[in-house]
């Protein structure tokens, strides 16, 4: 038997999971393209038919308790009508192994007047729906202990704390980064001008820089000079006038510039996966 469950927003420590319905329906289908998932990398842009995966998910701090225990629907109360507007996310438990998650925003709950065209015509006012997406936001396969998903941002509200995998640098960290000796701010550029995507790159770049010794750092700066001749320099530091300049430096720290072995074309990798 398969079960459709909801997690509701509620204060306190009471159980926040509710049962919506149970039957032999398969609420979601197992996607065919789950093989060869990519172990989650924040700087990888996913192809359309591929998935990110997190292995040994049950050991992660952001794994839900409900996934760690065996599932029994009788342990949960029935969802009440009044709780419909408080649904945070829904998930289905299928085939004793698969969990499919879908977040539910207020905009996902449709309230419509409805004319039912069946054996008998019926008019229903204020009918509420949640549309079950073809592709769920996340899939957890218990026998593999793997969580599959396509977009981290759409599951951060389900798995609290998972955003640590791809976090933005805080205002202070951004300031600290911009104050480093190899950066020279110009034309009033400050941490306030740093946009979201660069803040994420800064968080990653800071990690990368930590592991560099001074020689490696020098190598990296030479490498950036080689590939970004337009980037101005003042006393050896890169001049940052815009978010775009900053991006060039951050790409450099991440070593995304490369030259093709044939024809020597210079390129930027906008998505990377380490091989091996």
């Amino acid at each position: 038997m398969n079960h459709l469950m909801a997690k509701i927003r509620k204060r306190g420590n009471d159980n926040k999971y509710r049962k919506i319905t149970s039957d032999d329906n398969f609420y979601y289908k197992l996607p065919e393209d789950l093989d060869n998932p990519i172990e989650y990398l924040p700087d990888h842009n996913l192809d359309e038919d591929s998935w990110f995966a997190i292995s040994e998910f049950s050991k992660k701090p952001y794994c839900l308790d409900i996934l760690k225990n065996n599932f029994e629907s009788v342990e949960y109360s029935q969802l009440e009508k009044l709780e419909i507007d408080k649904i945070d996310f829904i998930f289905s438990y299928q085939d004793k192994n698969e969990y499919y998650f879908q977040r539910v925003l207020n905009s996902h709950i449709l309230s419509k007047k409805l004319l039912y065209l069946g054996d008998a015509f019926k008019f229903k006012e204020n009918t509420k729906f949640i549309v079950i997406n073809d592709i769920p936001d996340a899939i957890y396969l218990k026998n593999q202990d793997k969580l599959y998903f396509k977009k981290l941002t759409s599951i951060t509200s389900i798995f609290k704390g998972i955003e640590e995998l791809y976090r933005e640098a805080t205002e202070e960290e951004t300031k600290e980064f911009l104050e480093q000796s190899f950066i020279c701010l110009d034309q009033g550029f400050s941490s306030k001008n740093v946009k979201k995507s660069n803040r994420k790159r800064i968080a990653m770049a800071m990690n990368t820089m930590k592991n560099f010794n001074s020689e490696e750092k020098k190598k990296i700066f030479d490498y950036i000079k080689d590939y970004c001749p337009d980037l101005e320099r003042k006393k050896g530091a890169f001049v940052v006038r815009s978010d775009e300049d900053l991006k060039s430096i951050l790409y450099g720290i991440d070593q995304r510039y490369y030259t093709t072995p044939v024809k020597n074309e210079k390129r930027i990798a906008n998505s990377i996966i380490p091989i091996n």
Binding site: K19, T21, N70, F71, E72, S73, V74, Y76, Q78
Partner: protein, 181 residues
């Protein structure tokens, strides 16, 4: 909504024996020509049949399952007896119809809200047994079933019906583990 009506129906079935006992005590007779016991049997059969009907109605309840993650199993057939004997004594000492109506209403309301309305001995006549089942996550539920369960590993139900969030009924046949006795 349907669930609430069903629960009211179950409550009525569970408490109606009190009215039956009162009618017998008052020597009420509905068929004049027949001996008294014929009328008494008719009185008793009404709640028994209604309980049977309530079992048929379970098909309209929402479905659940227990997949076998059960830690503990406790037989509960005898739990209802003390409270039921209480009902009987009350019915025997009620002097008139007016008192009966009020006492019955009070009992009805409490039984309904206590959610233990399913401790109805009439279920035994329909060969149902009561069990407390504790799941691996220490959630205790009340289970009504035809099956005779002995070990936690026997507790495996694909088609349970939910009466309320703590009470579930299995209306399947007595197949599976069933060493009666």
């Amino acid at each position: 909504m349907g669930n609430k009506l069903y629960n009211l129906f179950l409550t009525f079935n569970a408490t109606s024996l009190m009215i039956v006992i009162f009618l017998i005590k008052q020597h009420c007779i509905i068929i004049n020509k027949a001996p008294n016991w014929v009328s008494y049997l008719i009185f008793i059969s009404i709640p028994a049949l209604m309980t049977g009907l309530s079992l048929l109605c379970t098909r309209f309840l929402s479905t659940d399952s227990i997949e076998g993650n059960v830690k503990d199993l406790e037989h509960a057939n005898n739990v209802y007896l003390p409270s039921y004997l209480g009902y009987f004594f009350v019915a025997l000492s009620v002097p008139d119809v007016e008192t009966l109506i009020f006492v019955f209403l009070i009992l009805f309301v409490f039984t309904y809200f206590s959610q233990t309305i399913y401790f109805n001995p009439l279920f035994l006549l329909w060969k149902r047994h009561f069990y407390y089942v504790t799941t691996e996550n220490n959630i205790k539920i009340f289970l009504i079933t035809r099956k005779v369960l002995r070990k936690p590993s026997d507790v495996h139900f694909e088609n349970l019906k939910r009466i309320n969030n703590y009470t579930f009924i299995d209306n399947g046949g007595g197949k599976g583990e069933s060493s009666d006795g």
